[in-house]
């Protein structure tokens, strides 16, 4: 196995609700162009491309083929990866395996979503619809209260079960979720590539937004964004030719449990706030990266937090704080941009959510923090040696983890 470096990142110029001036392939091309601009990469250096976006959201079945000319993919190996919310990080992992195994030296990893061109809610409905339709003949009234409850009211409805369970376990309050959201909206204001930016956001600003599905408010939820990210990944040998500064992928893992939402068919076994896969995957990734005490050795983290309570939950499940301690750490300012364990300096998924890029941006943001290249004031003030990136999705039960470092791991 060989070490793999991240040699550069290209984002679309903006992440916004509706990117009206271009179509999806053109939007992907903008991120790829920016990756070229930010590195010494030449088109002939690219050995293979891994690309991903959320299944069904744009209503286009084979978008990677539609866009192949726009990401320099003609005549080259192309692989599409689609693992729901985690897609962007699964793309990074697939690109890592391409290089680590020795078959390819330089790979473009691309994550994108143009949510304004499709109907995300229809896409999400497709996740539970087969089970719901199978239950209708057995007496489930989809139009009545039981049906509404079963379908969980979409993603937020299902996440609210998780949020309430997390609050009950940790002793946190809805005010802590307000505070977490305010922290991230404020961080986003310092990130030129964030979508929802609220300079100096206060918990009271969040608390003034209406409840969507108790205990989650509108201000606790992520937007739907258009945007793309392109990462240049390469072997240690190629790295110096492509970029002056690189970050290293030193540990990676993924893990699934059974579905923790829906599953009326065969009995729901798992608390959606338990997130055992996060514990298992992070343990494996830390071991691979040679990290024995993540509380001390990890300098900052980027989590997949579609909903604000999750940044607290993940920081515990991924071993950065003891179980139940995150609300206290938040109150103490530990999770602030200038705190001891900055969480989502970019504003996180909570503020920018082009789904296929969302989990990738966790990795790219950690890489930029390590390189010292985070723009617009969201670079954390301390030196970042090791960073933790996390992706989440599936039926609330699939987790990807990447540990990055400023030096390559010892083989």
């Amino acid at each position: 196995m060989r070490n793999v470096a991240i040699a550069g990142v290209g984002y679309t110029n903006v992440f916004v609700s509706k990117r009206k001036d271009m179509n999806a392939p053109e939007m992907i091309a903008e991120a790829v162009d920016n990756a070229f601009r930010n590195t010494n990469l030449r088109p002939e250096d690219i050995d293979a491309i891994v690309i991903g976006n959320m299944q069904t959201f744009e209503g286009v079945n084979l978008p990677h083929l539609w866009a192949s000319e726009h990401f320099c993919g003609v005549g080259k190996p192309v692989m599409r990866v689609a693992t729901g919310g985690t897609t962007g990080m699964s793309v990074v992992h697939a690109a890592y395996y391409h290089i680590a195994c020795g078959l390819y030296d330089t790979v473009l990893a691309i994550g994108w979503e143009k949510q304004s061109e499709g109907d995300s809610q229809v896409g999400l409905t497709g996740i539970v619809l087969p089970e719901a339709l199978a239950l209708v003949p057995l007496g489930l009234d989809m139009t009545g209260k039981q049906g509404m409850v079963f379908s969980g009211g979409g993603s937020t409805g299902a996440a609210s079960f998780q949020a309430m369970s997390y609050l009950a376990k940790s002793g946190g309050t809805i005010e802590h979720i307000d505070k977490m959201a305010a922290l991230e909206r404020g961080n986003a204001a310092l990130n030129p590539y964030a979508h929802l930016k609220v300079p100096n956001c206060k918990p009271e600003d969040i608390a003034a937004t209406p409840i969507v599905s108790y205990p989650l408010r509108f201000g606790h939820t992520c937007p739907t964004s258009d945007g793309a990210t392109c990462m240049v990944m390469c072997s240690a040998e190629k790295a110096p030719k492509i970029a002056d500064k690189v970050a290293w992928i030193n540990g990676l893992a993924n893990c699934a449990s059974e579905p923790t939402t829906g599953n009326l068919l065969e009995g729901l076994l798992t608390d959606p706030a338990e997130q055992m896969p996060a514990k298992i995957a992070s343990k494996k990734a830390y071991e691979m990266a040679g990290i024995t005490d993540p509380k001390k050795e990890i300098d900052m983290a980027e989590f997949y937090d579609g909903f604000a309570h999750q940044s607290m939950m993940w920081s515990e499940r991924l071993g950065l704080f003891d179980e139940g301690k995150a609300p206290e750490m938040l109150d103490k300012g530990v999770m602030n941009l200038d705190g001891e364990m900055p969480v989502n300096p970019s504003g996180g998924v909570l503020c920018t959510n082009a789904i296929g890029a969302s989990a990738m941006n966790r990795v790219s943001e950690c890489a930029l923090q390590i390189m010292g290249l985070a723009e617009g004031g969201h670079q954390v003030p301390k030196k970042v040696r090791n960073a933790l990136a996390h992706g989440w999705g599936g039926l609330f039960q699939y987790v990807t983890v990447t540990v990055l470092g400023d030096t390559p791991r010892k083989m």
């Binding site: 108790y214 729901l268 076994l269």
Partner: protein
């Protein structure tokens, strides 16, 4: 050009033939007709599934031991729908709960009524409200809701 255009269409769901072969679901439905919850227990790890799969998801072995569980249980987590899909406040908020029935290891989704939503809490004890025996047909609609009982 208009930013959003609407195209009217229908989706013929009769073409979607998703099926349940589940013997475990059959066990549940037959029990519901009698006004009881029944699931399937794994002889190896003791996990009780309601409704049961026909294999244990932990041990990965076939299971078929039918067990009856209580129609009382505990709220494990919940949410309250205070607004409709358009964001308009609803007159009667729906309290959706994940309920672990006594004797079961799995969670069942159920509506809880008969309590102010602000008084609902994790750990709250609830009991199933059944349809009259004459109206029960062995269907998921045989139990309509749950109501709180003393802690």
């Amino acid at each position: 050009m208009e930013e959003t255009r609407l195209v009217q269409a229908t989706w013929d769901l009769s073409q979607c033939k998703f099926k349940i072969s589940g013997d475990g679901m059959k066990v549940l439905l037959e029990g519901l007709r009698e006004g009881v919850f029944r699931g399937i227990k794994c002889p190896q790890c003791g996990t009780v599934y309601v409704p049961g799969p026909t294999f244990c998801r932990k041990c990965f072995i076939d299971i078929d031991e039918v067990v009856q569980v209580s129609d009382e249980g505990e709220v494990e987590t919940y949410t309250v729908e205070l607004a409709d899909v358009r964001g308009n406040p609803v007159e009667e908020p729906t309290i959706s709960c994940m309920i672990k029935l006594d004797g079961a290891d799995t969670w069942l989704i159920g509506v809880v009524e008969g309590i102010d939503w602000q008084k609902v809490h994790v750990g709250m004890r609830v009991k199933c409200v059944w349809k009259d025996a004459s109206e029960r047909t062995g269907s998921l609609s045989d139990y309509t809701r749950f109501v709180p009982i003393g802690d």
